[in-house]
């Protein structure tokens, strides 16, 4: 019996020890091994309050404010603090239905009864005025500033770009952003995002179970201050941009103007365009959907950087330069034109009426197709080249040195390479080395596989204006208060063509405007140089193209104009370029009739999508 009892004592004591041990093991696992409880405890009491800095402003080249921030307000609600209130009045103030109110309150309560959640986003300044007076009637509701991006003028949408909430995939890649943050999505807003956004600040507050503020965490040891975004000074001329958009109304196409001495883009128009203020705030999603669904006008598409066109006769300038550089073309080289260039198989590249034979300068003035087929052949089939391929590669190298066939490096996202086909391409098409200069003769007059973007075409004008060199075109000329200049855009890029070969080309371009294909575009007070292009394309009527720079001596502006499917270069593109030049140099356009004709020229039917 004694033994049994002592056993029982041990069993009972054993149970005490067992439970004690179970507790200690449990404590060990949750206190020492697991770390999620520490995280949960911090989640309970720490509130991270982000301080969003003001996004940087964007100015035009004359200091006009283009992009700024406008105060807007988010209405927030902390459900637990909401007392009985006049629901109808609140609904009226912010313009929602009672069902919405109930729905949103439910959503907020589900998120957390104690934490503030968004009730109504981006209340405009006017509505905020009414709301602010009455907000005391609605305990639990408060208003939080949340600035909106605003655009002073309804212009340059593609260049300026827009901002929007950062997507979930991007948050995974870049730890700076949190859900709900804004980020530049296109244009300058995107390419200069890191400068414009500034630096977020963080305040850590401690709260109790009722979400009441209990002061800063460890006396603000871990708090960081926010820094405002950097202001940017763009090279755009807001007036010129607006004028260009006006001229392009009702037309598809693009205008790019560059200051030749600096590479600064003066205007960059892609038409049809849209008001950048459409992609701001609450209406952004809906408007974006409308714009992106418009498959006829494709207003979101930035033609200046992303559309590829055959350059047509504007490319004769390039051939004139390459031919001289290769020593197969001289100012007095004359080719007769029997109304076209025979391809030898019964087909021919036709030409228009002009006297014959023409020399180099006249060939530019009258844009003779036969002349440039011959020039092109003379380059490719030069005696010192053993194969067509070798001649073609030399030609291609020269062409690419003038900024074609690859991205120029414009400081706006989305730029395309354009296309200068390689000899491999023709090998694949015709068989290896089974092609001759005759097979690719259309390249000589800017047709065929060749594709260039409007900005590359404007850059060609700048290159000729500079007699052989260019600076990478860019839209931001200075950064921040110190007006720091981006070094990338200060380096001169030199082409393969010796400067003295440009004189005759420039003279020919001057003749184009004075008494050549674009005589209608002549400005009496400004002697300038240009070249028309009429690009055949598979999409319908020819593209009307014009490149120019002005004034002829000491040029201030180099420009390219493309008006899609509108006919001859001289009909639309040349007059528009001429008006733009007058506007930029004189600031006022005196040729009102021409101006009106251009503005009123509606060349496209309205979008079917928009009509619906």
């Amino acid at each position: 019996m004694k033994l049994v009892n002592s056993n029982r004592k041990i069993i009972i004591l054993g149970l005490f020890v067992l439970i004690g041990l179970v507790f200690i093991i449990r404590l060990f696992t949750i206190q020492i091994i697991a770390d999620r409880y520490v995280l949960s405890a911090n989640n309970n009491v720490l509130r991270y309050i982000t301080q969003w800095p003001a996004r940087g402003l964007i100015y035009d080249r004359f200091g006009k404010l283009l992009v700024y921030n406008e105060a807007a307000y988010d209405l927030m609600v902390t459900p637990r603090q909401v007392k009985t209130l006049d629901t109808t009045e609140l609904c009226q103030l912010i313009g929602i239905e009672k069902e919405d109110f109930i729905e949103r309150m439910k959503k907020a309560r589900n998120y957390s009864p104690y934490r503030a959640s968004l009730f109504e986003a981006q209340i405009s300044r006017e509505n905020y005025g009414y709301l602010e007076e009455k907000i005391y009637k609605f305990p639990g509701f408060f208003v939080q500033p949340h600035p909106l991006r605003k655009y002073s003028f309804p212009i340059a949408a593609h260049t300026l770009g827009y901002i929007g909430e950062v997507g979930p995939e991007f948050i995974l890649k870049n730890t700076y952003y949190r859900s709900g943050d804004y980020i530049g999505i296109s244009g300058i807003e995107k390419s200069y995002e890191e400068l414009l956004r500034g630096k977020k600040g963080l305040k850590i507050r401690v709260v109790d179970v009722f979400n009441r503020d209990k002061g800063s965490f460890q006396n603000g040891k871990y708090d960081t201050t926010s820094f405002s975004g950097t202001d940017l000074y763009s090279s755009l001329d807001a007036d010129l941009q607006a004028y260009g958009e006006l001229l392009m109304s009702g037309k598809k196409g693009s205008i790019v103007a560059i200051e030749p001495s600096t590479g600064e883009i003066l205007c960059m128009i892609s038409s049809p365009s849209y008001d950048p203020n459409l992609l701001v705030g609450r209406a952004r999603k809906m408007n974006y959907l409308k714009l992106s669904e418009d498959s006829v006008l494709v207003p979101l598409f930035n033609r200046a950087l992303m559309a590829m066109y055959p350059p047509g006769s504007t490319f004769k300038l390039v051939d004139a330069l390459v031919g001289q550089q290769e020593g197969v073309l001289f100012p007095d080289t004359r080719y007769g034109c029997p109304g076209g260039f025979s391809l030898g198989n019964g087909k021919m590249v036709s030409c228009h009426n002009h006297w014959s034979p023409l020399d180099l300068r006249q060939s530019i003035q009258f844009s003779c197709n036969t002349y440039y087929c011959r020039v092109f052949r003379s380059i490719i089939d030069k005696k010192s080249f053993s194969t067509t391929r070798e001649g073609f590669e030399v030609w291609r190298k020269h062409v690419m040195s003038m900024g074609f066939g690859k991205k120029l490096g414009v400081d706006i996202p989305g730029e395309l390479n354009g296309n200068i086909p390689s000899s491999n391409y023709y090998d694949r098409y015709h068989g290896k080395n089974r092609w001759t200069s005759m097979a690719i003769i259309s390249l000589g007059i800017g047709q065929g596989e060749i594709g260039i973007t409007p900005v590359q075409l404007a850059n060609l004008a700048a290159l000729i204006a500079n007699r052989g060199s260019y600076l990478t075109p860019h839209v931001i000329r200075a950064i921040g208060q110190k007006k720091h200049l981006n070094e990338n855009y200060q380096q001169n890029k030199v082409s393969d063509i010796d400067p003295h070969y440009f004189d005759i080309v420039v003279a020919g371009m001057h003749d184009v405007v004075e008494a050549g294909t674009a005589a209608s575009a002549k400005i009496d007070s400004i002697p300038f140089c240009g070249k028309t292009g009429t690009a055949q394309n598979p999409h319908g009527k020819n593209h009307s193209i014009f490149v120019a720079f002005a004034p002829m001596n000491n040029p201030k502006i180099a420009i390219s104009v493309v008006v899609e499917n509108s006919g001859y270069g001289a009909t639309w593109a040349a007059p528009i370029a001429s008006l733009m030049i007058e506007k930029y140099i004189k600031r006022v356009v005196k040729r009102k009739d021409l101006e009106q004709n251009m503005i009123n020229g509606i060349l496209l039917t309205k979008s079917k999508v928009v009509d619906q």
């Binding site: 019996m1 049994v4 009892n5 029982r8 004592k9 009972i12 004591l13 149970l15 005490f16 020890v17 439970i19 004690g20 179970v22 507790f23 200690i24 449990r26 404590l27 060990f28 949750i30 206190q31 020492i32 697991a34 999620r36 409880y37 520490v38 949960s40 405890a41 911090n42 309970n44 009491v45 401690v206 709260v207 109790d208 179970v209 009722f210 209990k214």
Partner: protein, 419 residues
């Protein structure tokens, strides 16, 4: 004077000091749990820590009085105590005050008294008295039924007050029966019934039955394989099958909704962290975030900013876990286990059977509170609202535990007077 000095000479200072240490640690943690920068004096009588200090002083006074009472008194009047407790339990049902769903409080002046706390003492005394009687044979069914009656009567009355937690505590006195010679088989049965219920709720019932079937078969094969043994095993197995499948029904039928939810929370069937699972989750966060060293006195964010409900009463151990970390929690658990060991040690050296069994009763009651309360804060036991002895805020429970313990200390010191 001589007599009084004698009493203090013979009391067991080990138990007395452990008691004092636990009470003071409890007081410090209550202070931390309800700490408020605006009312930071620990002697502030409006705050719980100020009140607790009064309860502590009063309990010391009670302890002193108990030590001065004649040693025979408690065994002689054991049944009377029990009877008074039962009467109070009945009275409170009719005239008690309801606090948080339980109608189990008497309002006496500014003090709320809970008879259920004191009924535990009555039951421990009555059980010790009954089994201390040398004529009583625990092997007899009549004895067992009487003992069951002694426990069930207060249990039923407490359940009628909607205080199921306190009712469970009476079950702990089964350890006393066991020590007094109750058969191993019966003890096994009494342990198996709740254990099987827990397993049936916590794991897949079919797996459980397969395990039982296999272990039964193995057991039978290891014996002499008599038909009688086989029949017994089959009978037990069938009874278990019926029992296992009726547990759910029992839970749904007899438990109140909030009790059912608490059980579901424990077994992970209900993880509603904003509802029923909130307390346990916040409790685990508090203790778990304490780490090894703890966040430091008054530095517990869970505690200070009131994330843990009932943190000065039932969830007081959270404060220990959060502010004193693993080391402090370990210390508190070690202190309790040491106290239980010391009580058992003292009980075993008693000459009178009454004193010995009463000692076991004291250890059992304190142990069950300890096991359930800390188990609950650690998420090992469903939420059952019973206090942690000497730690939790509250006059009734502190006084009841003090009386419970000091009656035993008095019995232990009385040993010398019997010489």
């Amino acid at each position: 004077m001589r007599e009084q000095r004698g009493i203090f000479q013979h009391i067991d200072w080990w138990v007395a000091i452990l008691f004092l240490v636990l009470v003071i640690l409890g007081w410090i943690n209550i202070y931390a749990a309800v700490y408020d920068e605006n009312h930071s004096s620990i002697l502030d009588m409006d705050a719980r820590y100020g009140k607790q200090m009064i309860w502590i002083l009063a309990s010391l006074l009670l302890a002193m009085v108990i030590l001065l009472i004649d040693g025979k008194f408690f065994s002689q009047f054991a049944y009377l105590f029990y009877g008074i407790c039962i009467l109070l339990l009945i009275a409170v049902i009719f005239s008690g005050r309801e606090i948080s769903g339980s109608k189990s409080w008497f309002q006496v002046g500014g003090i709320a008294l809970q008879p259920a706390e004191f009924a535990k003492i009555g039951a421990a005394l009555a059980v010790a008295k009954y089994l201390g009687n040398l004529d009583v044979d625990i092997g007899k069914t009549r004895t067992l039924l009487t003992l069951a009656g002694i426990l069930l009567l207060p249990m039923i009355l407490v359940i009628l007050q909607h205080d199921a937690g306190s009712a469970i505590v009476f079950v702990s006195l089964i350890f006393v029966f066991y020590r007094a010679g109750m058969s191993d088989k019966l003890m096994l049965l009494l342990v198996a019934i709740p254990l099987l219920a827990v397993l049936a709720l916590g794991m897949n019932k079919y797996i459980l039955l397969v395990v039982m079937f296999v272990s039964g078969t193995v057991y039978f094969l290891s014996t002499r394989r008599k038909i009688k043994t086989l029949l017994t095993i089959i009978a037990i197995f069938i009874a278990s099958v019926v029992y296992v499948f009726s547990v759910d029904y029992g839970v749904n039928k007899f438990l109140e909704p909030h009790q059912r939810t608490r059980i579901n929370v424990l077994f992970g069937k209900d993880i509603d962290l904003k509802g029923a699972g909130y307390n346990v989750n916040q409790s685990l966060i508090a203790i778990g975030s304490g780490g090894f060293w703890g966040k430091g006195f008054l530095q517990g964010t869970q505690t200070k900013y009131n994330f843990v409900p009932e943190q000065s009463t039932d969830f007081i151990f959270c404060t220990v876990g959060e502010e004193w970390g693993f080391q402090g929690s370990f210390l508190v658990i070690a202190l309790f286990v040491t106290l239980f060991f010391r009580i058992i040690f003292l009980a075993e050296r008693q000459r009178s059977k009454f004193s010995r069994l009463y000692g076991y009763g004291v250890a059992s009651i304190l142990f069950l509170h300890f096991a359930i309360n800390i188990g609950m804060t650690l998420g090992l036991v469903p939420v059952i609202g019973i206090p942690l002895p000497f730690f939790s805020y509250g006059g009734s429970s502190l006084w009841a535990f003090t009386i419970l313990l000091f009656i035993f200390i008095r019995q232990d010191s009385y040993r010398y007077e019997l010489l």
